[in-house]
Symmetry: C2
Subunit: 561 residues, 2 copies
């Protein structure tokens, strides 16, 4: 005889957050009755892998479904009910009304504790023609199968939305040899990032044949006049005809059920939760893409629809249910995220300059360029790091990276630095792993700390753009060969004095007029600015160098000292 | 007319620490007279790159000498004197006696501030036959050229010392198609690491044809009887004949000059310095491999002969000379280090179990195994992480990693975590960058935090070795197919109940006898232990799993929940 369950735990949603809750709950308590409700046919699938199966990088569909309802039942003794939708919550009666998707049959399921992990749905705005079956979104395995099937017979694909999923889809569709147009309403790809940090990736997409249409929103769809395609009509009046449209313009939390149940929601419809992820009803927890948590740095309300936080939230809920005294409050999320397309990666952790500006918070920032490992060792690839910090205490507020290798490593280091409340001085002193294949005696993270501290200490006055004022002298400190091959873009008058000659030739500059020093990466400009500052010039140095403004892959013979 | 210098700064040693001091000093003060003395012909060369030029991975010798005396003069206005040895320091007179290596001519050089960056020399113990010209050490470009020349005509090479440089040399000599024997006095390779964390690397070396002789010290050398080779005589009586012997058994600080000058030295001959890297003479600073600093975690005296710390120390000295109020004390070093040989990397940061045991400090530890990125995405490679923490407060004390990819990233994250004083709970909650090509929703760093916290909280009792006591029941929770293919090594009696069947079949175990659960990676054993513990069994779980004990590359179909 099985004893009666110690507790009836019902979980709505069987992917990242829901499945994590169930797994941890079972490990903490063998006697609890756990019911996992999932509207779709699949549980606990690898949702971040969907684009890679469409593009064929992941060859076996079964790789995405490591757990099935059957394995979850066997390994975790769960009552897994797929194809089962929760349609109402009777909070006073502590029961959930469920409906079998196939038959429409409804019944009531009692709970002692309820966990809501409904996730978020791709946005599908009510535009003209939006219901055309060739306009697809990507959330689950069925969506994936649908896109893969339509892609198999499509020649032209329009991806709408150049965020993380849009970029992954564009890359994978190029792998399938489709003609791909990527449409983005913002004037940049990867809208969460600051614009300059997206340029290398935009270049990479174009290099691999993706047509980028920026600063142009989708206005509607209509059958094409010329052929069987579907015409995407853009706000600019431009038209793009495609055989498949992938809509990846964001997600909306699936909180209709929660709203009907009277649970507190945030301004954009996310479930509000306390530090132990309890909703406004203490017997109902919530986790994953549908909730609003706290920003890890500022404590502001924020929604972070990512797999990592969802998993950790599920684990926390189970901990709080069965071991409340040993469970720490949810620390909030940094929103660390990364995307790869072809050979380039880009990502962020913490706050961006955009967000800081919008929030009116004080910050300072530098951008540094270097190689991802020792430059003298073969295979060194360019990488750029933008660092943001709090001028009050030097603490790191955020970082963005882009480059051809090593981006994920520095993002993780900086995410860890933010959690450890490290300052720009601490970054300068980090003891990172160095052997030529892996890093450099001064890693780009150290370098960013140096440059940030030099900026704070007034050793250098950074400037972000080339001066428009003709009274400002532009000193190009690069070797003449590099200057000839890669002149400063635009109609800019400059004086080329290579760093090595600057002490002897500083008399060629007018001491009464300000100077901006420039070079390829930003280092030499700093060195030159130091020389001139000590000779009494009013000088600032172009941060990040010319390379980012010319061609992010152009060579930069950089002094390594 | 040039004004007289504001200060005369003399730096002895022109590689990492010395060159960094000079460069930063010049950027902070254009008016100081900086003299850089270097006994050898080269300054500021890439000493960590030497093995890679020998093996041909770095094709151009000039890649290692990005800076030359001429470029340093031009860019930094230094008085660079190569081939110049400092032979005495007259501290009361504040002058250094220098000797031209080529001519033997001596003279005196006055200083206001002196920086000692003499580095460390490879050990060359006074063994019989040690003066044979085929026994070479590797410190500078001349040594490199010598080894490369002898290697060109050698067929058999013995590398003595399986530390970081010994491993890099063994790898590179295999690239040159030499027959390589690697001899190590300790019973393991990579003596700084804990033994289990070196096994994958040892396997990799053997796989690529390196003959490993462990637990056998070098006793002497003699001409071989049979051919023109040189015989290495080992303590065991074993003999190894080689045409080239690379001696890489450690380094000794080059502090003869400092000792003669009466500066305070540590017990192993390192220069003692204060928190601003001043020696016992406040006008003399020291940096690099020759100094003893403080351990970053405990404050214990420690010597860390690595390039990263040397660079940062040089920078600090310049800061303290010219901007003392704005310069932070040297925080100490973690000794983060990494080495690659063929496809495997291994490294450490902070304290090892060995060191903690030797120091009698309290610690706890877990080892976890996983893949370096999402298992469902192609190319996932095994990685193992050993974590050590302080049981008093949960703070991370150290970490070691080994694996086929992603080792450097996690080392850097954990080095950053130590500096941020993060705990095992903080590791569990780190928001790391996840996209399938780069990581996992639960990174191995998160996983280590989970397992550590579960261990601390008593959710699992870890055991490090298979029990010898036949009264203990060994429960193998792997799928039967895996058990048949990879049986538990040794003459061990075990019961195979796959996890999925354990709830139904736990009656097959004797509740009166203790149980150890085992699986491939350690996860399933934990899950099984949780089931049994809640059924009243006295149970512990084998940490790290069987894979590390069988074949670190053997498959492990692991449930990902």
């Amino acid at each position: 005889m099985t004893p009666p369950p110690s507790l009836r735990l019902v979980i709505i949603g069987g992917v990242a957050a829901g499945a994590s809750t169930a797994a941890r709950a079972r490990r903490l308590d063998e006697s609890v009755a756990i019911t996992l409700l999932e509207r779709g046919p699949d549980v606990s699938f690898a949702n971040c892998g969907l684009p890679y199966y469409i593009g064929g990088e992941i060859g076996e569909r079964s790789a995405l479904t490591v757990q099935t309802p059957a394995t979850l039942r066997a390994l975790l003794n769960l009552d897994v009910r797929t194809g089962t939708e929760a349609v109402a919550i009777d909070r006073p009666g502590k029961r959930v009304q469920i409906r079998a998707v196939a038959t429409g049959e409804t019944s009531w399921l009692p709970y002692d504790k309820l966990v809501l992990a409904p996730g978020a749905s791709p946005l599908r705005p009510p535009l003209p023609g939006i219901d055309d079956p060739r306009i697809l979104t990507l959330r689950n395995l069925s969506d994936m199968d649908r896109i893969k099937a339509v892609a198999a017979v499509a020649r032209r694909v329009a991806v709408i939305g150049a965020g993380f999923i849009g970029l992954e889809m564009a890359e994978q569709l190029i792998h399938l040899k489709k003609s791909v147009t990527l449409i983005e309403a913002q004037p940049q790809i990867l809208p969460p990032l600051d614009p300059a940090m997206t340029l290398l990736m935009a270049d990479e997409l174009r290099t691999h044949g993706v047509e980028l249409l920026l600063d142009d929103a989708i206005a509607g769809f209509a059958p094409a006049a010329a052929d069987s395609g579907l015409e995407c009509q853009l706000s600019s009046g431009r038209r793009v005809t495609a055989d498949l449209i992938v809509l990846a313009i964001g997600v909306r939390p699936d909180t209709t059920l929660a709203r009907s149940a009277g649970l507190a929601l945030g301004p954009r419809g996310h479930l509000q939760v306390d530090e132990y992820l309890r909703t406004s009803d203490p017997d109902i927890y919530a986790a994953g893409d549908a909730i609003e948590t706290r920003d890890r740095i500022t404590g502001d309300p924020v929604s972070v629809p990512l797999g990592g936080p969802a998993n950790r939230q599920g684990r926390l809920i189970a901990g709080h249910l069965f071991r409340p005294a040993a469970t720490r409050p949810y620390p909030g999320a940094l929103g660390t995220a990364i995307v790869r397309a072809f050979g380039v990666a880009a990502g962020l952790t913490g706050w961006t300059e955009k967000r800081l500006l919008a929030a009116g918070r004080a910050y300072r920032t530098v951008t540094v360029h270097d190689n991802h490992h020792a430059s003298y060792y073969p295979g060194a690839k360019p990488i750029a790091l933008k660092l943001l910090w709090d001028p009050a205490d030097g603490r790191v507020l955020g970082a963005q990276l882009t480059g051809l290798a090593g981006v994920d490593k520095r993002l993780d280091v900086l995410a860890t630095a933010i959690v450890g409340r490290l300052t720009i001085d601490d970054l300068a002193e980090l003891d990172l792993a160095y052997a030529p294949p892996f890093g450099a005696a001064k890693d780009i993270v150290n370098l960013a700390g140096y440059v940030a501290a030099n900026t704070r200490d007034g050793l250098v006055t950074p400037c972000d753009t080339l001066p428009a004022d003709p009274a400002v002298q532009i000193l190009d400190a690069r070797p003449p060969g590099l200057v000839r091959k890669y002149p400063i873009p635009g109609d800019v008058s400059s004086i080329n004095i290579p760093l090595a000659e600057l002490r002897a030739r500083s008399g060629e500059l007018d001491p009464a007029r300000p100077v901006v020093t420039v070079c390829a990466l930003g280092k030499t400009a700093y060195f030159a600015a130091r020389i001139l500052a000590q000779r009494g010039f009013q000088v600032s140095a172009l941060t990040g160098g010319l390379r980012a403004r010319l061609d992010p892959r152009s060579p930069a013979k950089l002094p390594t000292l």
